[in-house]
């Protein structure tokens, strides 16, 4: 074998790997004035809504970045732009022409010719828009009938979910109550003539509840698919509905989120993972559910397992995301400026993501873990951790379970108040580097389904 050929092959391999690694970086797409309200990616390019700035006051902008273009063009300016949706070569825009309650309009923009036409006017506080085939779905809202009365939904703001091919002749799909003067849920999409949506109930209390419903324009009552405590998010993909709920593993359930998958054909729900941060976004890219929080992009396993960190993202909170052709689009703040970034999700993305996580692994120490419980999420036997403040100021613990693919089974938990940013766990000083062999200084475990605590290994007492 010619050694020169081998060297050349190795060099080529290194170059290719390097190129793949570099191309796997999160690449800035455009700079933004502030976090976008919505991002839509598609074959015609990238669209996003820049909400009206407060200082100085100005209009909201609908920006458009065609494929290959370097700078976006402003497609539309209005008092406010609420929502956009793309369907059949047409961009539909829900906007408001003024502060009046009935100043909502729907504009259809032909993406081939650029021609615009008003589809509807006089909409009441329109908020969300979806398009499926030839049917448009949108929400309108009514003012509160009486302030301060929380126990009578009907006299609080009421939102109507409407549908129709012609918005001037709408069909009522369902009504939702709200605490804001506009719809606070999300339209998830339509399947077989049924619209799926989430709605919020009573967020002014302990966090309220999130309802997931579906309904059609056939006059039947909407069907309640799931009800979860707190503010949760959902995503629809094929016959599967993914949605978050309060954690079952954390000491404080509302401090984390788990992800469920509901099989819509069988009405069967299974839990996929737990320990995710609150205030994240759920989306499905190429059939894979993903969760984006302020720190990381997580991959949701296909069966019960810990979430898999894909990339440190630093997305703005709450994350606004879109997925298209193996890329994820979101916004992040970099050095006092906001930018829209494209994050590859394929091989190059994972290759790029693997190295920083490796560096992170090298920094952390190790402590032993006592598997106190056979909880829903299998507890790791060894725990690597780092004092890493999360978005909410709480410290994040990263854990690694040994196995054939240790880099892919990172786990994360956030034992409330037990780890501080200085790296002390339960008051015990953590080793700055890998600890020498010997008895562990602290153990970490999940004692019960709802209780997670740190305990001293030597004495076995709680260190909290």
């Amino acid at each position: 074998m010619n050694s020169r050929a081998v060297l050349c092959a190795l060099a080529c391999l290194v170059v290719v790997a390097g190129a793949v690694f570099v191309r796997g970086r999160a690449a800035p797409v455009s700079s933004l004035s502030e976090s976008p309200r919505q991002i839509v990616a598609g074959p015609h390019g990238l669209f996003w809504i820049e909400p009206p700035p407060s200082e100085p006051p100005g209009p909201a902008r609908l920006q458009y970045l065609p494929p290959g273009a370097k700078k976006p063009t402003c497609l539309l300016q209005a008092h406010d732009v609420r929502s956009i949706a793309v369907g059949d070569g047409t961009l539909y825009v829900l906007a408001e022409t003024g502060p009046q309650e009935d100043a909502g309009v729907m504009v259809a923009v032909d993406l081939s010719s650029g021609e615009r036409r008003f589809s509807a006017a006089g909409l009441y506080r329109p908020q969300s828009l979806e398009v499926d085939g030839g049917t448009l779905y949108w929400t309108e809202s009514r003012s509160a009938r009486a302030e301060g009365i929380v126990h009578v939904p009907i006299i609080k703001p009421v939102n109507a979910i409407r549908a129709g091919a012609q918005p001037s002749e709408p069909t009522l799909i369902g009504l939702t109550e709200g605490s804001e003067p506009h719809f606070t849920g999300a339209l998830l999409g339509a399947r077989e003539g049924k619209l799926y949506w989430t709605e919020r109930l009573g967020w002014e209390y302990v966090g309220g509840a999130t309802l997931i419903k579906r309904g059609g324009g056939d006059g039947s009552d909407p069907e309640l698919l799931a009800r979860t405590n707190g503010h949760n998010v959902a995503a629809l993909e094929g016959d599967a509905l993914y949605f978050t709920a309060y954690s079952r593993e954390l000491a404080s359930p509302s401090a984390g989120r788990l992800v469920n998958r509901m099989d819509l054909s069988a009405s069967h729900t299974e839990m996929l993972t737990d320990w995710l941060d609150t205030n994240g976004a759920l989306l499905v890219a190429r059939g894979t559910p993903l969760y984006v929080d302020a720190s990381y992009l997580w991959r949701i396993p296909s069966r019960l397992d810990p979430p898999i960190p894909v990339k440190r993202l630093g997305a703005m909170s709450p994350p606004v995301v879109a997925a298209y052709r193996g890329n994820l689009y979101t916004s992040r703040r970099m050095d006092e400026r906001v930018e829209l970034v494209r994050v590859p999700l394929g091989l190059r993305g994972y290759l790029n993501a693997a190295l920083p996580l490796g560096r992170l692994r090298a920094k952390v120490g190790q402590i032993s873990l006592t598997p106190l419980s056979a909880g829903i999420v299998p507890m790791p036997e060894r725990l690597s951790w780092a004092g890493e403040p999360g978005s909410s100021g709480a410290t994040t613990v990263l854990a690694r379970r040994p196995g054939p693919r240790p880099s892919s089974v990172w786990q994360r938990a956030r034992p409330r108040g037990d780890v501080d940013p200085a790296g002390r766990i339960g008051g015990l000083e953590s080793p700055p580097h890998r600890r020498p062999p010997g008895p562990p200084r602290a153990t970490y475990g999940c004692a019960a389904r709802e209780t997670m605590h740190l305990a001293s290994a030597a004495g076995g007492g709680e260190a909290r």
């Binding site: 309108e140 009421v158 302990v206 909407p222």
Partner: protein, 391 residues
Amino acid sequence: MKKQVSPVVAVLAVVLAFGAVMGVYWKGLLGDKGGDGEPMGGGGGGMPPPPLVGMPTVTVTTLSGPAPNSLTEAEGGLQDGPAREARFDGPSAVAVDAAGVVYVTDGRSHRIRAISPDGAVRTVAGSGPVGSVLGGLSDGPAATARFWGPSGLAAGADGSLLIVDTGNHRVRRLSADTVTTVAGSNTAPDRLGLPDGGFADGPGAAAQFRYPTGTCALPDGSCLIADTGNRRLRKVAPDGTTSTVADLAPAGAQSPCGVARYPDGRVLVVDPAAEALFVVTADGAVSQLSGIDTGAPIWSQPTGLAIGADSTVYVADTGSHCIMRIPPGGPPQLLAGVVDVQYPSPGFSDGTGSASQFTAPSGIAIGPQGELYVADFGNNCVRKIVIAPGT
């Protein structure tokens, strides 16, 4: 001659003085109060003021609904059965009959539920889908009748039940397992197609209301209605004839939603938006109840109202998540619940004092033994309050 001071003593004195200053500073005693009550300065920022708690001789239990859990809001639903298995969805008002049966308007389920003294729950009227804002309107057999967000309830002396059907702008009656409309009629739809309510006195079939929410039964078989949208106190005779007792708007009412009657005939109306109680005399004169410090932490959004035989007023406050008692001529007292003086403090726990927590209690009624029943709207359950004698 100068007196020599030992260096050790001097150092100790300095250390003690420094420690004392730091101690005071750490305690926040030097911290100035900001304009909004936020403690300023001090190493520890000062200790937050302790929460106000209910009376230690007042015991709160959960009569029906899910078991208390201070960590999460109780999940709503529609389920009859034993106390702990039963589920409510937005219980908003309660009424108690002479036998001690507690009736509940299950607002989001658009149904009327009944709780026997052992806590078992059954649905006594209403039908239709669960979890839908949109209710329905139909009279007839109780099992098939439909309501839309009922939020007021009163037990009549004849065993019937008066139901304020808020979303349908009507007053309904449940008697002998049959639901009838006593007063209220169709009104024009609003911009989203919902019936918007109206205002009209007259025979029951011609009368109109706008989002009525509260009621109390009168000895003559008629009832008083807090007509929230019209800001009026209305009276409905047994035959449905409707009249206006008082216009509450000139007195400052914004959203009157609860009504109760003193033993002497005066009527009390509670308004969570105006954060006030209005007294209506027999001649229709309206005035605000005096002696209430509306700036007090316990007074936020008074919503539910009941008056005892001794003229003691009981108020359920959805904003401060507590139950108050107003003795005749006295200021409001925190009876049950925990009120953080800085932030809303909802919760869900049974017990006395600091162990009794509510989330947006909205309805209250007095039982035959003087016990209180509370519609704990945010916790989707019905609570029972027992006040020890002499409290």
